[in-house]
């Protein structure tokens, strides 16, 4: 790629194909004549839908189109994540953006006959949401309430085709940066945009770049991308890499230009095979187009990117540990300073940003600082992607302006808690974050507000919990995670978290004492203050936040020996509801401990002393008479 003009030729050529598929909130561009197909069947190939066999759906559509001889009219495209994973595999047909849900090869046949051949919407399989007829994006609260910047191309382009990315305006930002801006200009734009790190801590990205920009051209520097998305329940970065890998490559090259680096590394989880594949393809295509390599856009700027795969260590999401791991060592963190901007990868100045942070950069360069600052709040500009999961109807990926309330995200976009259950808490920030209780349902989601209630933005995992989830058990779950993922280098984290877990385990087994709660708090403060890296410093957060907002549940476990949510097995008992029991004796015959007594056609009874809580009675009861509480 020698110039912006050359880039424009490709973009113009793609217009007839890209135009008919416009994204959420975008207005469709004017129709442009082209020689390729102008109708599209978009099959979601994100991990969620792929696991739901979307490949078979895609194959079926391709076969049907071939048999019907419609290759010139229709094209089947495998996209990245469409967002609404709960209803996957998702298929979208353009023009018109008609969404179909839970598509399998058989449904694909029907959709093909009615929609593609018949010209009517196959209404039986439309994506259903309350009060939605499914004909347009605007009808869905799930999509309608979102503002997509980082996800702007996800679901719209074929991530394995660089022309499609260019067709959507891709690599324009890199071209403009290299040919029309100085490196300092680029840094100033990023600074002025107010963009903060989307990996969780929220450090201003421009500042990071500025720290690393000294001595350009005189010393070896590196640009790294943190794609080691380790928080359980978080899949924002994976979706961006799967749906729009070039946006990350482009942004890394821009960062390289800004600080004076010629080599980039993407450290990506090996657990994301589709993302890894698509990144490999994207890097190869970018090299072929001269968008990575030597003399980009006819300038003397060189930049290339290599992939490094993680190997299943959560701590490697911490920046110093990540770089130690790229160097080929045990991924142990080290103290800062020196900060990576001074001494990072291979002892050289390094800029390290998260996937989602990078995905924002090209749009900021092209559309400008004012546009970006018009979204979000004063201190938290732009948008944030959340992976909405747990007890919520529309599990999936959502991008909203900073400052949107938790209630809007969960009730309106997420469609609320299923089965009419009551919302109890939302967990953000994974093992480093906390639980937000219902009383804060209306707080705006931004970095400062979440911090003020002892939570954190985190990388974007948002797990919804209902009345059936035990908060002590959840705290224990996260502690188990940190205990097993602690690298062991520093004592407060290695031993402190284990002691906390032991106390929590005791409480969930009904052996806790009130004094344990003080011990937990004391230990937590010590671990926060003295751990070496972010993993340890934030590990006590789930415990502290549940202690703060759900103390009564801890007290119930300790004093009443009861688990109010009915989760902690040791504190619950199986009982038979005499109203429902028909006296069929099936439970008694299946009880391995002979704990059930009762005569035929009379209500039975479980002896709690003998019961081993295996649950065989409940499994076998045909009348739903056995309850566990």
């Amino acid at each position: 790629m020698k110039s912006l003009e050359e880039l424009k030729v490709i973009r113009d050529r793609m217009q007839s194909q890209i135009g008919p598929r416009c994204g959420v909130g975008e207005t469709a561009p004017e129709h442009v004549e082209g020689d390729g197909p102008e109708k599209f069947i978009m099959v979601c190939g994100g991990t969620g839908c792929h696991s739901g066999h979307s490949q078979e759906v895609m194959d079926r559509f391709e076969k049907l189109i071939k048999v019907a001889g419609k290759e010139k009219e229709y094209k089947v495209i495998q996209t990245g994540c469409q967002g609404l994973c709960a209803k996957g595999p998702i298929v979208v047909i353009h023009p018109g953006a008609v969404f179909y849900e839970e598509v399998n090869p058989d449904k694909a046949e029907v959709i093909f006959r009615e929609h593609v051949e018949g010209g009517n919407v196959a209404s039986k399989y439309l994506l259903r949401e309350e009060n939605a007829d499914g004909t347009n994006d605007e009808d869905f609260k799930f999509y309608n309430r979102q503002t997509r910047i980082a996800l702007r191309n996800c679901g719209i382009i074929d991530p394995e085709n660089i022309d499609e990315y260019i067709g959507r305006g891709g690599y324009e930002a890199l071209g403009r940066s290299l040919t029309q801006m100085s490196p300092d200009d680029v840094i100033q734009v990023v600074l002025d945009s107010g963009l903060r790190g989307r990996g969780g801590a929220g450090f201003p990205t421009g500042k990071k770049w500025k720290f690393a920009c000294g001595n350009r051209g005189q010393v070896q520097k590196y640009v790294c991308c943190n794609a080691d998305e380790g928080d359980p329940g978080a899949f924002m970065d994976r979706s961006i890499l799967e749906g729009d890998p070039h946006s990350v490559l482009e942004a890394m090259a821009i960062a390289g230009y800004a600080i004076g680096a010629d080599q980039g590394y993407i450290y990506v989880r090996a657990e994301y095979p589709i993302a890894v594949d698509r990144l490999r393809i994207a890097i190869r295509q970018a090299r072929e187009y001269g968008l990575l390599g030597k003399n980009l856009f006819g300038t003397d700027f060189n930049f290339d990117i290599d992939l490094r795969l993680g190997a299943g260590a959560f701590v490697c999401g911490e920046e110093t540990a990540l770089m130690t791991s790229i160097e080929g060592n045990r991924g142990e963190p080290h103290t800062r300073p020196p900060f990576p901007a001074v001494k990072g990868l291979f002892q050289s100045p390094t800029v390290l940003n998260n996937v989602e942070t990078y995905a924002n950069i090209p749009e900021i360069i092209v559309k400008g600082v004012d546009w970006f600052r018009s979204m979000g709040t004063e201190g938290s500009t732009g948008t944030k992607v959340f992976a909405l999961g747990g007890k919520v109807n529309n599990t999936g990926l959502v991008e909203v302006p900073m400052g949107t309330t938790l209630r809007e995200v969960i009730e309106e976009i997420g469609g609320g808690v299923p089965k009419g259950k009551k919302f109890k808490a939302a967990q953000t920030g994974g093992p480093s974050g906390g639980c937000i209780p219902e009383k804060y349902y209306d707080i705006p989601i931004d970095y400062e507000t979440l911090k003020s209630i002892g939570c954190m933005m985190g990388s974007g995992g948002m797990i919804v919990m209902d009345e059936d989830n035990c908060m002590v058990d959840i705290a224990k779950f996260f502690l188990e995670f940190t205990v097993s993922e602690s690298c062991g280098k520093c004592t407060p984290c290695r031993i402190g978290t284990r002691r906390m877990l032991e106390i929590l385990t005791r409480i969930t087994e009904g052996k806790g004492e009130m004094e344990d709660l003080n011990k937990l708090e004391e230990l937590a403060k010590y671990i926060q203050a003295n751990s070496l890296c972010g993993l340890g410093q934030t590990a006590p957060n789930p415990v502290l936040s549940t202690l703060r907002f759900f103390r009564d549940e801890y007290v119930a476990h300790i004093q009443d020996k009861k688990c109010p949510a009915g989760v902690c097995k040791a504190l619950c008992t199986y009982e038979i509801d005499p109203e429902k029991c028909k006296g069929c004796t099936l439970c008694a015959r299946n009880c391995p401990a002979d704990a059930i007594t009762g005569s035929v056609k009379e209500p039975h009874h479980i002896d709690p002393e003998k019961c081993i809580k295996c649950g065989a009675c409940m499994d076998n009861c045909r009348f739903g008479a056995v309850v566990f509480k």
Partner: protein, 162 residues
Amino acid sequence: MKVSNVPFKGTAEQETELRRRIAEHKGEKGSLMPIMQAAQEIYGYLPYQVQKIISDETGIPMEKIYGVATFYAQFSMSPKGQYEVSVCLGTACYVKGAGEVLEEVKKELGIDDGECTSDGKFSLDTCRCVGACGLAPVMIVGGDVYGKITPDQVADILKKYA
């Protein structure tokens, strides 16, 4: 880390392939992890003998290779079953009952997390979020993903592979 007693059965072809892959990374900075990942791909695990080849070829001391192998959860020093069973214990799966699914798999296979059945058919691992949270709870058998599963479906799923 569980170290296996199963005798090493590496072939000459595997060794040639490993040496070729190591040569590809010659002179590259920080190449140990990609090499070990290639080795695990070739052999399925990283027994002492394989680590020794890597050490001999690269000049990296054995203690460092062992250190890296034991640090990362994906490196295994015991062989895997013909079908690797993996139960996701990510948060989304956990709150939807993945714990009970795991217990059922353990009961059904008669092995614990990180073990392999005596016939070499199944090995069991837990993983932290495969990112298919929309399908929670999720279990993976031999690369096939099963979503929205309940404990009573476990036996039937495993039967397909027996």
